[in-house]
Subunit: 334 residues, 2 copies
């Protein structure tokens, strides 16, 4: 049987249970943004790893070496942010085709270093090797959390408010600019491209949100909320209502979507790589947390829906009308 | 400038210093078998990572899926052994070409699981993704050490005895069997192939040796002692004498080398992937440690030379005659 019959997820599902008996006291494995390894009574190390392969995750002609170095680390730091952690150190493995320019590699490292300095994350190790033709990058980041503050995907509770920390769809809009070869020198396109090529991990917002008692579940938006929120629902055994008119959209994405006749909900709900945070907050505490978030970070915590009872499914509404996105996809908006 | 002008090591050298300012108190980065992250006053976590790329590190038609799964984890556990650590958990990233058989992947995981169970190392996370054509494997292993027992490459002292924990060259002999298409059903070939395809990390010997006060420096043999010992000499700022007649050689390697006219010193001194331990031991304590090692593990701790004063260089002797391997390579023995 070929892998494309069962997909990557089918492969993970086939083996993830086989190691359960080996998991030690306090460790948490596959299923959240990071694995957890106890450090002491009060704190734990958290670990995340991401493999990026040329022509699958990036095309060298569509992203600069500096941006790729920055983004490769950013997507891993975003997983640390999703658990409310502080980044401790990073490990970089690179498989390099023989004809790669050293200047390109230097620029890659400069981008990686830029983000490392911003969040004080030393590169402590790695591996460098040849690769026959594709550039291969694997990054592993170790972070640290206070046990009592850690937020898991499984913590969502009935009636929780579902929020995100940033506009949705900007990164997917930037990808659309690239794929459609739109001019990249106009302000709207520039803004979206930056969000796609150099996403900002929500390390500081993640730490602050994790310290708030009303925050019950948290993760980062990597595949688009229609897919990511499903992970929270699966882990927390509940359902969700999302109000599409409340999805936060940047003016830049609105402008460019209108001009090019893009389906803005398609982009913002199932476009990935936003790397902002998706969280569920106790209904009673939402207003206070949202206000304090605004004061502390000078931006809004966007309420996009609520957790309801039921089997893990997302119900989309627009102006109180139920829209059957799950079955028919995004044709309603076209 | 193309990478092949400066080599991979040149690339690492270009960037490893750039992160020094970010390294936190007690952390140790690039330069040993593992990085070190403090856990508490007495213990630290150690971390190692290895990237394996198809057609660079293995050929799918020359190693079974089970063996590859076993070996991929073994080479990482060997780095944990080299520091005297206990393995805590592993993280596996796989980039999988579309046409890969699911049964092949299942066998790969079975081999990985076999070794995980042997050393009680749970798989706590990872990443699975597509790859355009080559299979890509990145493994990261976290281990734990007692700070006062940790052995670094930099600890070698003048007059230390240089030892290894196993025969040298068996793995390279196995590779020779494969590359020369020798029959693989004879006992000698079978033995060497097993050493090459399923190397055994020296986790238990590493832990015991690390707990011995007379052991001053330790690392694992991954590239052959002529290259690995050089790392100890560089880090410890000393030189070494190696007595070629003391290099431990298996009967199987001797037999097959004689039959096929192989240069046995070439294979045992600069053939890689033995994954036994290379260590330097205080001269006064060597005899006691070697005796206890024999009692505990029912095998010999092999003395192959000694540390001397001087700039980092290895002087090879055979029957008291200096042999200039460094300058002229292995032609002396051909």
């Amino acid at each position: 049987m070929k892998l494309n019959k069962i997909g990557e997820f089918g492969f993970i599902a086939r083996f993830s249970d086989k190691f359960n008996d080996l998991i030690k006291n306090g460790q948490k494995g596959i299923g959240d943004d990071c694995a957890v390894i106890p450090k002491n009574k009060n704190t734990s190390f958290i670990i995340t790893t991401d493999l990026l392969v040329e022509d699958v995750h990036f095309k060298k002609e569509k992203i600069s070496a500096f941006e790729l170095g920055y983004k490769s680390l950013a997507v891993n730091l975003s997983d640390i942010a999703a658990m409310g952690g502080i980044a401790n150190s990073s490990f970089l493995s690179v498989g390099i085709p023989k004809n790669t320019d050293v200047e390109w590699l230097d620029e890659f490292i400069s981008g990686y270093q830029k983000l490392s300095e911003k969040y004080n994350v030393p590169l402590l190790g790695g591996d460098t090797t040849k690769s026959p033709d594709m550039l291969v990058i694997n990054i592993c980041v170790v972070g640290e959390i206070e046990n009592k503050k850690t937020k898991y995907r499984s913590g969502a509770k009935n009636n929780d408010i579902i929020c995100v920390t940033d506009f949705l769809g900007d990164s997917a809009g930037g990808l659309n600019v690239i794929l459609n070869n739109l001019p990249d020198n106009e302000d709207d396109a520039k803004y979206l491209l930056k969000k796609h090529l150099m996403p900002e991990p929500e390390i500081f917002a993640g730490q602050w949100l994790a310290s708030q008692k009303g925050v019950n579940a948290m993760m980062d938006v990597s595949d688009g909320i229609s897919s990511d929120l499903k992970h929270i629902l699966d882990a927390s055994k509940c359902a969700a209502e999302i109000n599409l008119e409340n999805i936060p959209l940047s003016d830049e994405l609105k402008n460019i979507s209108e001009k090019n006749n893009w389906n803005i909900y398609d982009i913002s709900v199932s476009g990935g790589e936003d790397y902002c945070l998706l969280l569920t907050v106790d209904k009673e505490k939402f207003q206070e947390i949202a206000q304090n978030f605004q004061t502390k970070f000078n931006r809004q915590l966007f309420k996009i829906g609520r957790i309801i009872e039921g089997s893990p499914e997302i119900y989309f509404f627009k102006n109180n009308k139920n829209i059957d996105l799950n079955k028919k996809g995004y044709n309603h908006f076209k």
